[in-house]
Structure formats: C-alpha cells, structure tokens
C-alpha cells in the first residue's frame, strides 16, 4: 500500500532556518512528506482550521506570537495535531515548558541531524496517538465505572426489598409468634437492612452527582422547618444512645433560597454523623444564625460533644470516599459518602460547608445558604439606568392538580417541568422568574417580575398560555392552569435616590402584590 505523504506545517519567520529544513526534507524519499511553510502565527491558525495537517513544526520566536503563547494558540487551533517546537540553542528551558504545555518534542535549530528529522516527526506523531488513545480509554473506563455503580445500586434494591418484606412479616408476627430473643435478633436484621438501604441510596445519589443528574429546585424556604423535621426524625436515635439532641432557632430568622428536600437531607446526614461520633450523655445541637461576615448568608451549624477530628483531617473530610483512618474511633460507619454528598448539595445551592474541630473537643459542622432577598433577585433587571423608571408587571402562573398529586415526587417533577417551560417563554435578561415560594394549598404559584407595562404583561401572559396549551405536559384533564398579570403604578425614580433605595421600593411593591395574591389563594382554598 502506498503511504499518504505526511502533511507538515512549518511556521517559521526566519527564511534561512526554513530553507535549511526544507532542504532536509527534500533529501527524503519523494512523496513521503509535503511541507507547507507559513511565516506568521495568524496565517497558521487559519491554515490549521482547514484541517489535514499531520504535524506542526513551530518556531517559538514568531513576530506575532510569544513563546509559550504560540504553543497555546496552535493547540487551540488544532487540539488533535501533534506539535514540535523549534528553539534556539539557549532556549532549552522554554522548550521544556512548551512540552509541559502540550508539545510532543523540541528541536534545537542548527543542531538537527539530517537523518534524525523524519524519525523525530514519526515519533512525535506516534507518541501523540498513544496519548490520545490513553485519554480515550481513561474516559471510557470512568464512564463505565459510573454506569456500573449506577446499575449495581439499582439491582441491589430488589433483593433488599425482599429481605425487608420478609423481616417485617416475621417481626409483625404474621408467620407465627416470636419469642423475645427471636424478636430481638430480627430487630438486628432489620436495623442492618435499613443501614444497607441507606448505603445504596447514598451510592445512587453519588452516581447522580457524577452524571450531573442531581435535581435541585431552589425556593423560598424556612430553615426552621428543616431543622424541626431533622430533630424530630432523629430524636429516637439520639435518645436510644443517651444523647441530648436539641435545636436553637430564632423564629425571626429570614427565609433562604434553597431546596427544602435537599436542606433536610444535608441536616439529616450531619446530625446522624454527630450522633454516631458522640458517646452517651453527649450533646448534639442544631442552630442557625445570620453570618457575621456576610449579611446575605445564613449559617447553619451542627455541633456535637463527640470525639472530634484532627485538623489535618477536617480539610479532607468532604472528599469522596474519605473515612477517618482509625476504625476504632469511627466504628462501622458506612461508605463515607455522606459528607461528600453534603458538600455537593450545599455548593449546588450556592453555599459553603466546613468543619471546625480538634481531637477530643467535639466538632462543629457549618454551612451557609443565601438569604432570600427580593431586591437582590430583581437587581439584574434594574441594573441598566434606562430601566430605572420602567413600569413593572407581575405575572402570576398557577398550576395545580384537581385530584391532588400522585406523589410528592410527581409534584416536584411537575414543578420542574413548569419552570423549564416558563424559562423558555422569557427573555432571560428582561424578565425574572422568582424562585418558588411556599405552597399555596394544592396549587403552586410561579411569579415573574417583568420590566414592562400592562401591554407587555398581557403579551407575556399570552405567550406563556400558548406554550402551556401546546405542550403535552398539560394536556391531561387533571391539570389546572391559569395565568394573569398585574401592573402596579410605575415607580418613579427620584434622582436623589440611590439604586439600593429604588430597588427596595420596587421590591416592596412586588412583595405587596405577591402577598395579596397568596392571601387571596389562601382564602379560595378555604384555609
């Protein structure tokens, strides 16, 4: 088989150097190489964009390029093409850096042996091919691992469901009466089954994080609800270990912008951990306060009087699969995924998580969540000066189910669907879809702040209605759907007022409208 000639791109501004190289190539077998010579980086980028180049020979001293930057640009223009840099005698350090920057090799001008050139080129190409192959294999293996993990966790659920079924049948005495010892042993089986179940859900959760399928729906949320829920849920576990589990919540705390289900999940993981690492007669406390450093953040803290963590470990404790090194200290503690899940959940909600602790001194796990603030939500729409006197319209969309939702999950899914549809109906830089508020009875209200007048408001409402009526999402008879808009008096901006004052005024107006809306729903729902 006749080999195709190797396409070489030489980028070199020095005519003498170029000529030398060209002569070397001319000594090779005719038809084995084809050399394209360009003088400038800008021309090279254009040429590379057309494709077809097998290898680049790049001078690092081009008039329109600068050393390593030339390498970077060549790489960007043709990421899959191997590259050899040409340097002067005293530039070997730079050449080494170029190789770290992605070049396959370097040649020193004036030191190139005649017969060595084709071999260097072939080596560079081969090395590049192998590297690419390794990268592909690694990516595939990682993907395979994630898919495998996801599959395994799904498959583990079935036998576990069966075990749970049989154990509870025995425990409930459906297969005959148990003596107290049998009962006790079966309780142990059930406890372990539940532990296994939670490990499998952790695995599934991590797989979802890895696949980017973790759903987070931010809404206006009261942290006190989540804290109360967590303390109530885990009180039994705490009491059975002789631990006092308490919470301090100030009812005047502001609401946060968070996913309530995810918030509960984070708190459950942190409090469960605290209970696990705290000996009998210890204390576990959950509290929330406004951040001293940043008044826009709420800090939630879970503290315990447990065994504590050494400082070098607190840094790494949120890494995936991290576990304390001393098993005696930790006991049997699951897969070590809990804190990693927490970290992902917190950061996806715009917060941070950290731990303060020292051995034997107990630990405090803290995380932040952004405080729900209408002025900061509508600020992007008001940033431009010309909109300062613009009228504002509030568009309200109400979605509900006539018979009540099939399940909590179905409701959440619908809520996601609605938000996606709404986002498609909006001009992202003009209209602002507020995060979901609290539930209004069995319906859910979505608020859009639009910087437009009544006519614009009507147009948006129409557009949304059209989208919803056209989607199969809401073809079902069970779904309720309504839209309407309200345009308050335009709020005039006084020249003396600061942007912040104006923002707060606008926010107050919108809030007033929203309050009217929800309270009228509340009356309609008879609650």
């Amino acid at each position: 088989m006749k080999e195709k000639p190797l396409q070489i791109l030489l980028v070199e501004d020095n005519a003498g150097d170029a000529l030398l190289l060209r002569e070397m190539f001319n000594k090779e077998k005719p038809g084995s190489f084809e050399l394209t010579h360009l003088l400038r980086m800008s021309d090279a980028v254009v040429h590379l964009a057309k494709g077809g180049v097998d290898i680049i020979l790049l001078d690092m001293g081009l008039p329109d390029g600068h050393g390593l930057d030339t390498v970077r640009r060549a790489h960007e223009a043709a990421p899959g093409v191997p590259l050899i840099v040409l340097t002067g005698l005293d530039d070997e350090t730079l050449a080494a850096e170029a190789m770290r920057g992605g070049a396959q090799d370097y040649l020193i001008k004036g030191q190139i042996e005649n017969r060595a050139l084709p071999r260097v080129l072939r080596h560079a190409i081969e090395r590049h091919r192998m590297q690419t192959e390794t990268d592909v294999i690694r990516t595939n293996q990682l993907q395979f691992k994630d898919e495998f993990l996801s599959h395994v966790s799904h498959e583990l659920r079935s036998p576990l469901t069966a075990i749970y079924g049989f154990v509870t049948i025995l425990l409930d005495g459906l297969a005959g009466e148990l003596n107290s010892e049998q009962h006790e042993l079966l309780e142990d089986v059930l406890r372990n089954t539940k532990q296994l179940k939670s490990m499998i859900s952790d695995l599934l959760e991590v797989t979802r994080i890895q696949e980017g399928k973790l759903l987070i729906e931010l809404r206006c949320t009261a942290v006190s609800d989540a804290i109360n829920y967590t303390v109530n849920t885990l009180q039994v576990a705490a009491i059975s270990k002789g631990i006092e589990l308490s919470s301090d919540i100030d009812s005047r705390l502001p609401l946060v912008c968070a996913d309530p289900t995810r918030l509960r999940q984070i708190l459950i993981i942190l409090v469960e951990n605290a209970i696990k690492f705290t000996p009998a007669n210890g204390l576990v406390n959950v509290r929330a306060r406004i951040s001293k450093k940043n008044p826009h953040l709420l800090v939630l803290e879970v503290s315990d009087s447990g065994c504590g963590i050494s400082p070098d470990v607190t840094e790494r404790i949120f890494e995936r699969l991290f576990q304390a090194a001393d098993p005696a200290l930790a006991g049997r503690q699951g897969l070590g995924l809990g804190l990693h899940i927490c970290k992902e959940l917190v950061s996806r909600q715009g917060g941070e998580i950290w731990a303060n602790s020292s051995l034997g001194q107990g630990s405090v796990f803290s995380f932040t969540l952004p405080i729900f603030s209408l002025p900061s939500l509508i600020a992007p729409g008001l940033r431009e000066g010309k909109r300062a006197d613009h009228p504002i319209t509030l568009v309200v969309i109400e979605i509900g189910s006539r018979t009540g939702w099939l399940s909590d999950e179905a409701r959440t899914d619908h809520s996601h669907g609605v938000r996606d549809l709404l986002r498609r109906c909006l001009h992202s830089d003009l209209d602002i879809l507020l995060p979901n508020m609290d539930f209004a009875g069995s319906a859910e209200l979505f608020f859009i702040v639009a910087f437009t007048d009544a006519i614009g408001g009507e147009a948006i409402t129409k557009r949304i209605r059209g989208q919803f009526e056209g989607s199969d999402y809401f073809q079902q008879g069970d779904m309720m759907f309504s839209t309407f808009y309200k345009s308050p008096e335009p709020i005039k901006r006084n020249a003396i007022e600061s942007t912040q004052d104006y923002l707060e005024k606008v926010a107050a107006k919108i809030q007033q409208l929203m309050n009217q809306e929800t309270s009228s729903r509340t009356v309609e729902n008879g609650k």
Partner: protein
Amino acid sequence: MANKKILIVEDDPDIRKGMSVRLKASGYDTFVASDVVTSLIMARKHAPDLIILDLGLPAGDGFLVIERLKIIPALALIPIIIVSGRTGLPNQELAQEAGVKAFLQKPVDNAELLAVIRKTLGGPVELEKPEYLSKPARRFVL
C-alpha cells in the same frame, strides 16, 4: 362479607411472596402473576378488586398489562396501583394517563401500601394528607 381479592403482578418471586403474605395477613385474598400473559389470565379467572402492578416485567411491561386490560370490558375498570423501582416523570405521567390510582416507589413502606389499598378499595382512609396539601399558604416574610 367476602374478602377483597388482589392480584399481585411482580416478576421477583421473593418480593411477590412477601407482598402476598403481608396482604393475606391484612385480610385480603391474593393471587399472583409474574408476566403479562399470566396476569391477564389470572385477572380473567379471578376478577380481582384491585391489581398491584410492577412495571418491569419479562416480555412486555406493566403498561402493556394495563393496555390489554382496558380492551376487555369486564376488566377495564379494575383499579390499579403501580409499585415499581422505576422513577421519573415519564412513567408517572403514563401511569396517570392510564388512570392508575397510585404510583408507589420500591422499596415500598408496608403501612403506606396498605393505606393506599384501603383508600383505593373504598375502605377507611388512614393515609395522612401530604404536608403540602394540609399546610396553609404562608404569607411571605422577605
């Protein structure tokens, strides 16, 4: 009064057995099937008051069972509860469209399953209202 009859369609023999024991203990007569064809034969033979249906079945899935039941007038109105490991909106929507009474996620809690069955069969309802239905709308404190 005769016991209510429940057909359990589930391909995992252990889950099937466990559910059957549990439902019998709660005073229901149970029949089981593990695939689409058997479930239709059993439905025809016993005319159950309720069908508990898994979605992942060999040779066709739970939705195929629903489809086939719908074309047999005598069986078309039997209430169906899905108990499945499948998640996601598409399945839930299909189920809702097909007139399924409830969609429960595996592993299902015993008390929840029994409550949904009682509700579907028109017995006394003990299932608590979901939080979001019972909670009044709250005025915003921003």
